[in-house]
Amino acid sequence: MSDNQTPATQADSAIDNATEHTTHFGFKQVDKGQKASLVANVFDSVAAKYDVMNDLMSMGVHRLWKRFTIDCSGVRAGNKVLDIAGGTGDLTAKFSRLVGPTGRVTLADINLSMLKVGRDKLRDRGLVSNIDYVQADAEALPFPDNHFDVVTMAFGLRNVTEKQNALNSIYRVLKPGGRLLVLEFSKPTSEQLSKLYDMYSFHILPKMGQLVANDAESYQYLAESIRMHPDQETLKGMFEQAGFEQCDYQNLTGGIVALHRGYKF
């Protein structure tokens, strides 16, 4: 620290320094190194009841959001698809059939419990021939450059510590001409819907989590992490910063969820 700094600048710099090393975990500020393990704890806890809870929380609408994502993916037979934070394999199952025997789908998730649930589910459905399972951190994807035709990430980006790093990493592994689709909770476009949604998220959701999954805290984190996630325009800016072109987004269910799309040329 230089001698000519005023106490105010010293305080500012200390705050900057602290901000640099911390990140949000829901509404809490935690050390950046801690977030991944805290998120892992959440998903270890909810993995077994993940599908049931998704259906209950969204009243089944999450299936339509995911289906719309697949419609927008433009996946063709023979394509290589990466489904990051693929969890229990909802998108992977359909991609596996769409790419056929000449294509491949990689289901990647940082959380081993989720990956195991996904793998068991897909195997039970007889989907085995063209799917790879990889435990991977979205910020440092263990794949070669220009490898995938399509990358999708459904309800995973908000749990990543450094979102920009993840987008940069995805850009690297996408082939030129490939596209990224990020389906994520976002900001409702109407004030009234926003109030209603807040009431649902902070009062009903944790109770539902307690009742079904015996875990109110994880669902409290879910609600908080959604509020801390960048809004539609900010995320679009982050896509552009990573190098994606023709970036756009589509609000679904009044902006509760948004589907962001970007191409690598």
Binding site: R63, W65, R67, D71, G74, K94, G100, L252
Partner: protein, 211 residues
């Protein structure tokens, strides 16, 4: 809520349910493994893609007809037509005429379109057998027999009602003209139109003469 996703989800589950009820459809579906058929049917706002594997996946197509044609694979087919033309596609002999009339645009593998048509047209679902599995043979047989009788009787009653109503309107209440009278009237109108056109032509010729 994405409406297109709701529609495709419903169509997909109906198609796969129907196919599962016909054991013979498995062989026809196997022949289509890896194929895709995209159909743009106006006035529907987006295309629908059927992707075939051990089941049928239904997707809404976000690109245009040209976009899809540009990315067609060796086992893909894309058609563009209208809702009115759709029933005519059952007759394969009509395809050439429809293409020439630009009522149907077809790109890619024609075989795929024909196999998809066969997949659905040859569906043979034994409803009585399915019902018998849930109830028993007697109930299933009686139910189907009743449904058939009710259907035949309702159709016959409808036809008879239409006849009675037609007679009442034309003969008794004289609210509408008889079919023959309408045809005669139409002929007279046509003849009058011809005479008017002929007079108009003669008038024009006379005008030319006096100019």
């Amino acid at each position: 809520m994405p409406t297109s996703a709701l529609i495709t989800a419903t169509v997909e589950s109906v198609i796969n349910k129907l196919l599962s009820l016909d054991e013979d459809s498995e062989a026809r579906l196997k022949a289509l493994n890896g194929a895709r058929l995209t159909a743009f049917v106006s006035p529907l706002p987006y295309g629908i893609t059927l992707s075939f594997s051990d089941r049928v996946d239904v997707l809404s197509e976000q690109g245009s007809f040209d976009d899809v044609v540009a990315s067609l694979g060796p086992k893909d087919c894309c058609i563009k037509t209208s809702l009115q033309t759709l029933p005519e596609l059952k007759e394969t002999s009509q395809l050439t005429r429809l293409i020439q009339q630009k009522a149907l645009f077809l790109e890619g593998e024609l075989n795929v379109a024909q196999q998809v048509s066969a997949l659905f047209q040859q569906l043979d679902i034994d409803i009585e057998e399915l019902l018998a599995q849930k109830t028993n043979d007697v109930i299933a047989h009686q139910t189907l027999k009743t449904v058939k009788t009710v259907h035949e009787k309702s159709m016959s009653a409808l036809a008879s009602m239409a006849k009675v109503f037609g007679n009442a309107v034309v003969e008794e209440k004289q609210l509408a003209a008889h079919k023959l009278a309408v045809m005669h009237f139409s002929d007279e109108v046509n003849a009058l139109r011809d005479r008017a056109e002929s007079a108009d032509a003669r008038l024009r010729r006379l005008e030319e003469k006096f100019k």
